[in-house]
């Protein structure tokens, strides 16, 4: 078991509880949501309005998906050497009516995904150094649990 300190790769974008949420922005009194909270733009019906931080829905459906067969350039830090392709999904949140991009949990490839598939948010390792494990949000098929076995089953399906 790792004894490294678990820290967000970038502060303030997601919670670290058992059922993590992305931290979005919302205009007070208006259902206009943004992600990241303070970099996600504005609503011209309320220009310059104060934005409060709110947890966003932690499940949604795949809007689209792909992978990166080659290692992205810095500031991406590959977790593995040699690089293993990462899978990426854009997920539509029903309540917020917005699409949010993220890596897909380990073990899932593009062959396992389809537009419309239900996904849930997890927090997982982005990269590590000697002291810390740097965390990021990722998407995972809903109810898949953790570990390689489910992924293998999914591939067999």
């Amino acid at each position: 078991m790792s004894t490294k300190t678990r820290v967000p790769a970038v502060e303030g974008m997601f919670t670290l509880d058992d059922e993590p949420h992305l931290i979005g922005g919302k205009i007070k009194g208006r259902d206009s949501f943004f992600f990241p909270a303070h970099l996600g733009g504005g609503d011209p019906a309320a220009p310059g309005a104060e934005i409060e931080e709110v947890p966003l829905s932690r499940t949604g459906t795949i809007w689209s998906f792909t992978n990166s067969e080659y290692s992205p350039p810095p500031p991406f830090i590959a977790r593995t050497d040699p690089y293993e392709p990462i899978t990426i999904a854009a997920v539509q949140l029903e309540a917020e009516q917005m699409v949010i991009l993220g890596q897909v949990a380990d073990g899932w490839t593009v062959n396992d995904l389809a537009i419309g598939m239900e996904m849930e948010l997890i927090v997982d390792t982005l990269y590590e150094d000697d002291d810390n494990e740097y965390l990021v949000w990722k998407w995972r098929p809903t109810g898949a649990g953790t570990g390689e076995s489910e992924a293998t089953n999914a591939e067999a399906n």
Partner: protein, 395 residues
């Protein structure tokens, strides 16, 4: 909006030459001046498109090109709008001409680009969505192109062969284009044998980054008529619109779309609104268009543009492609130059290069790739951070 005249166009060929970007701009400007058959002293305004990859000289591109050509005391401006920078520079020039600030303007852009993926500026910058998308998600530009390609496959039944067929078509168009970087013909199998980059897009579906330069000499219609250009190609419309909130189509460099929970998504998505705006300004419609140069950052994105520019309904682009409508000889050839697939992207020059190609097409000078009888042409281009552009030209 009144028309302006395109008196001259010119390029430096696209490639991987590794020289100073200024050299390419100067060659393109000299070619455009020669094509316009006017003295440089006539140019009252230099409108430069900025490159952000070549240090300070790139940030003040208008001035840098002016100095390289020889300072004349002309007015100067520099514009940056990512891939739409060249069209922005053209729009600024049009404004100067139509306001009476000058009669003749030089619009110019050139770039020297690094090899491989385009990446954000260095340093830890969590307040920059361009940095965040690379660091946290590994979302390169091809990742976004692939998200759109995957949707075409899932929603419209597009196939990898369709995407390959776009590349095959455009490669054939480019074979005799002296300014194209890639002039080799490919067949479907070549494309399908190239390495997968971001599923379903392979290397030959994705445009490279290139060195290149493009320039235009534009003027008022009065100046054109008084100086021997009786029937010039005209700029009839320029669109530089932003998206309209909420922009619900995910695109680079963002991690998320706007939310449609408080305001319904607009009738037209961002890229469709770019085309709609230029048609409205020009007073023509998609049915009037004879030839188009669109931003095929990936071959699948070319298909999206058929729909976004109104050439067909959503889901029908593959039909146009398969029926040969968008091949030279068809009813509405797209990317007769070979497009980005054959050029590679030289960011500040690209939107200008699109208009150069249409100018040659409308004059009947596109040797080896001529769209016969073309009278109306449209460009379309996608930038970053809500930039995009379209230019409509006509004889």
């Amino acid at each position: 909006m009144e028309d302006i005249a395109i008196l001259g166009v010119g390029m430096h060929p696209w490639g991987k030459w590794g020289r100073n970007f200024v050299d390419y701009g100067v060659v393109a400007a000299r070619n455009a001046l020669e094509d316009a058959a006017i003295d440089y002293a006539e140019v009252g305004f230099v409108s430069g498109a900025i490159t952000v990859r070549n240090g300070y000289p790139g940030y003040v591109a208008g001035s840098t090109f002016s100095r390289a050509l020889g300072f004349t005391g002309a007015q100067v401006a520099s514009s940056y709008a990512a891939c739409a920078s060249g069209a922005t520079a053209l729009s600024v020039a049009r404004g100067q001409i139509l306001s009476g600030a000058c009669d003749v303007a030089l619009v110019i852009g050139a770039d020297t680009t690094p090899k491989g993926f385009l990446a954000p500026n260095e340093g830890k910058r969590p307040d920059d969505t361009d940095w965040l998308r690379f660091h946290l998600v590994g979302a390169t530009n091809p990742v976004y192109f692939a998200l759109h390609a995957q949707r075409r496959m899932s929603l419209y039944g597009a196939t990898e062969e369709d995407f390959a067929a776009v590349k095959v078509k455009n490669a054939r168009h480019a074979v005799s284009n002296p300014n194209a970087r890639f002039t080799k013909e490919y067949d479907i199998d070549d494309v399908q044998a190239s390495p997968m980059v971001s599923n379903p897009l392979r290397l030959l579906n994705i445009c490279a980054t290139s060195d290149g330069g493009a320039a235009m000499i534009v003027s008022s219609m009065e100046y054109a008529k008084a100086h021997g250009h009786a029937d010039p190609v005209r700029v009839k419309g320029i669109s530089l619109v932003t998206p309209t909130y909420p922009d619900t189509v995910l695109d680079l460099p963002y991690l998320a779309t706007d939310s449609a929970a408080s305001t319904p998504a607009p009738d037209l998505d961002f890229k469709s609104s770019i085309g709609a705006s230029v048609y409205a300004e020009a007073g023509v419609g998609p049915d009037d268009v004879d030839v188009a140069e669109v931003y095929d950052l990936s071959s699948a994105l070319e298909l999206d543009w058929y729909e976004q520019l109104g050439f067909c309904a959503p889901g029908e682009a593959e039909g146009l492609l398969r029926d040969g409508v968008t091949t030279i000889g068809g009813r509405l050839p797209v990317n007769p130059s070979g497009g980005l697939g054959a050029f590679g992207e030289a960011v500040p020059a690209q939107a200008i290069a699109q208009v150069c190609e249409l100018t040659w097409q409308l004059r009947g000078q596109a040797e080896g790739r001529q769209v016969e009888g073309a009278q109306v042409g449209i460009t379309a281009n996608q930038g970053l951070f809500g930039h995009g552009s379209s230019v409509l030209v006509a004889k």
